[in-house]
């Protein structure tokens, strides 16, 4: 799409050299979430307070007696990261108004996994977005409860194996399709919603920077490849992340003031979903008919998305 327009932002040398998520964390080899966090924090910069829900990210980054966080960080319960971030934002606002702290732009950011965002954390997230706090929620979507040992979530893809969606005589694995959280966030009328993927680092950082500059709530849904839970080779993290885009399974787009825009072009035609599925053990049991079902659904979802991209006007355009 309009790559030329954003040319300067696509230069790696412009990226913050600071590391706010330091090495030495205990993430698995090839952890997409740790990589994504590092990149997200580069986009956010040092004036950031992170409220982190229980999950992999909290576990791997805060192993006693160390921390990987170079910025203020609070680990909260599983279901309320967005609520705490809302409290932090309101507290900062009050202190600034009273002149107790310097008038500095400190961003409150909540981070959670797919469970802490789409399942148990959805209520707190919805409330925070509805109230319009000046904050960002970043969801690291590794498509299951990896921290407790790979249980299905509402973000686990159709057909995938997990320890609580086991394929066998009675079932073929996960029976439901991913709940569309970015769309739920769009329905909250927040100013900025985006999907991101650490396999496309410049796009990810640009989106975070954009959300950082905005006043008001914004939401970033970040695919986090999980070699451990997806039963795949840990050297393939970046490749699988790219395949998620190239097959159309996880398109990268943003919604700004209601206007949809594809930020990283997908190949035309899309690669078959099988290319993505076959690298992951969690899809190994799938029969061809199920793969066809997934392909049909992905085609439909892409059409639905392109329909929005092509025809939905921004709020300004509407008037």
């Amino acid at each position: 799409m309009s790559i030329v327009e954003n040319f300067d932002l696509y230069a790696p040398r412009l990226i913050d050299k600071g590391e706010y998520f330091s090495m030495g964390h205990t993430g698995c080899a090839g952890c997409g979430e740790a990589l994504a966090t590092r990149l997200v924090l580069k986009g956010l910069g040092k004036d950031t307070i992170v409220s982190n829900a229980t999950g992999c990210l909290e576990i791997i980054s805060s192993r006693y007696p160390t921390t990987a966080w170079e910025i203020p960080w609070i680990h909260v319960a599983f279901e309320n990261a967005a609520a705490v971030a809302a409290g932090v934002e309101s507290g900062l606002k009050a202190l600034r108004r009273k002149g107790r702290i310097p008038d500095r732009d400190v961003k409150s950011v909540s981070m959670a996994g797919d469970g802490g965002t789409a399942d148990i954390g959805l209520q707190a997230l919805s409330g925070a977005m509805e109230r319009g706090h000046d904050m960002i929620h970043v969801c690291y979507d590794n498509e299951a409860y990896m921290n407790t040992g790979i249980q299905r979530s509402s973000q686990t893809p159709f057909g995938a194996w997990s320890t609580t969606s086991p394929p066998g005589e009675v079932s073929f694995g996960q029976r439901t399709w991913k709940k569309n959280i970015p769309e739920i966030m769009v329905a909250h009328n927040v100013a900025y919603v985006a999907t991101a993927n650490p396999s496309y680092p410049l796009d990810l950082i640009r989106k975070v920077e954009k959300a950082r500059k905005l006043k008001g709530p914004s939401y970033i849904h970040c695919l986090s490849v999980c070699p451990t839970g997806w039963r795949m080779d840990s050297s393939l993290t970046i490749k699988v992340g790219r395949l998620a885009l190239e097959t159309g399974i996880f398109p990268l787009y943003e919604v700004e003031n209601g206007k949809y825009r594809i930020t990283v072009d997908m190949p035309e035609p899309l690669r078959p979903v099988e290319d993505y599925l076959k690298l992951q053990g969690r899809f190994r049991h799938l029969r061809p008919d199920k793969i066809e079902e997934i392909q049909a659904r992905v085609n439909l979802e892409i059409k639905k998305l392109m329909n929005k991209v092509n025809y939905i006007q921004s709020w300004e355009e509407l008037g």
Partner: protein, 382 residues
Amino acid sequence: MKKNLLFVQGNEACVEAALYAGLEFFAGYPITPSTEIAELLSYRLPKKGGKFIQMEDEISSMCAIIGASLTGKKVMTATSGPGFSLKQEAIGFAVMTETPCVIVNVQRGGPSTGLPTSVSQGDIMQARWGTHGEHAIITLTASNNQDVFAMTVEAFNLSETFRSPVILLFDEVVAHTRERLIMPEPGEISVVKRLRTSVKEGTDYHPYLPREDGRLPMSDFGGVHRYNVTGLMHDMWGFPSDNPKIVYGLMHHLVDKIEGHTKEITRIKEFFIEDAEYLLISYGSSARTALHVVENRRARGEKVGLLEIQTLWPFPADTVRKRCASVNCVIVVEMNMGQILHEVKKAVDDPDKVFLANQINGSFITPTDILNILRIIQGKGS
């Protein structure tokens, strides 16, 4: 016999027992150290024609089993500390609506996220008073796989008998210890079936009208009888009421149906009690350590005994008082700051002879932890 011998962890023993007791519906949410229960049931239940649902959070898991129980199924959920906290309101609802259900809480270190993979017995009082308002509750625990099995079946039986939620309070050590389990044959342990009403279709059914023996027959919700279920105080029809007489009657019914049957609910195990001069009182995994100490001391001629409590609530105060009457001193062995200690102190005639041997740092209580206290009491150490 051999084909019934399993080598499993406590969580698996709980699953086997739940299926033995006729579990038909499980709703849960992943949480360490109870997750294996959900994982195993996601395999096992559908094969038996049962239903497994992984819900979106802890609250909905609890609420789902209440709904399913009312429709006539035997139900269970499993969780740990933080999830148990979230479930409390719904547990109160199950108490008020007299809905049979089993809640497994595999205890871990707390409060809050605490120590997700370490052992603790800190939820004893939460099991009793976690939900608000005056109420009675049944809570069982166990120290080894065989007892986990027996107590799990017992939990289903008691929940059906008393139309009450029953809490199974295991802990991380019990849940994750792999040891043998001898699977009872079908019929070897009696299983209480859902008591269904004999009221015919078209005739008025009163969901909250006890029979002469105090039990309340149920009618499958959505079946032939239309009736009301509410978390409000209610009359025998299930309709809300703030009539003081009805409220008084319901409060008494809810408490008395359990507290009044403490004796028949009580499950305890006794080891070397008869001539004991020093009595250890323990429960759950810490009773394993206590038993080791007792056997070890007995070999040296010291008169030490163990009372292992399996029914934590209603607390078997009478039994404890009787067993403690003739001993020189009592040591309560637990992995908290003395939650059962205070119950024992309340129960016995001389509270000054009750001491605490505990461990609260997330590691499993060792015989040394108990011996150190025992020695001081015996005047052998400092």
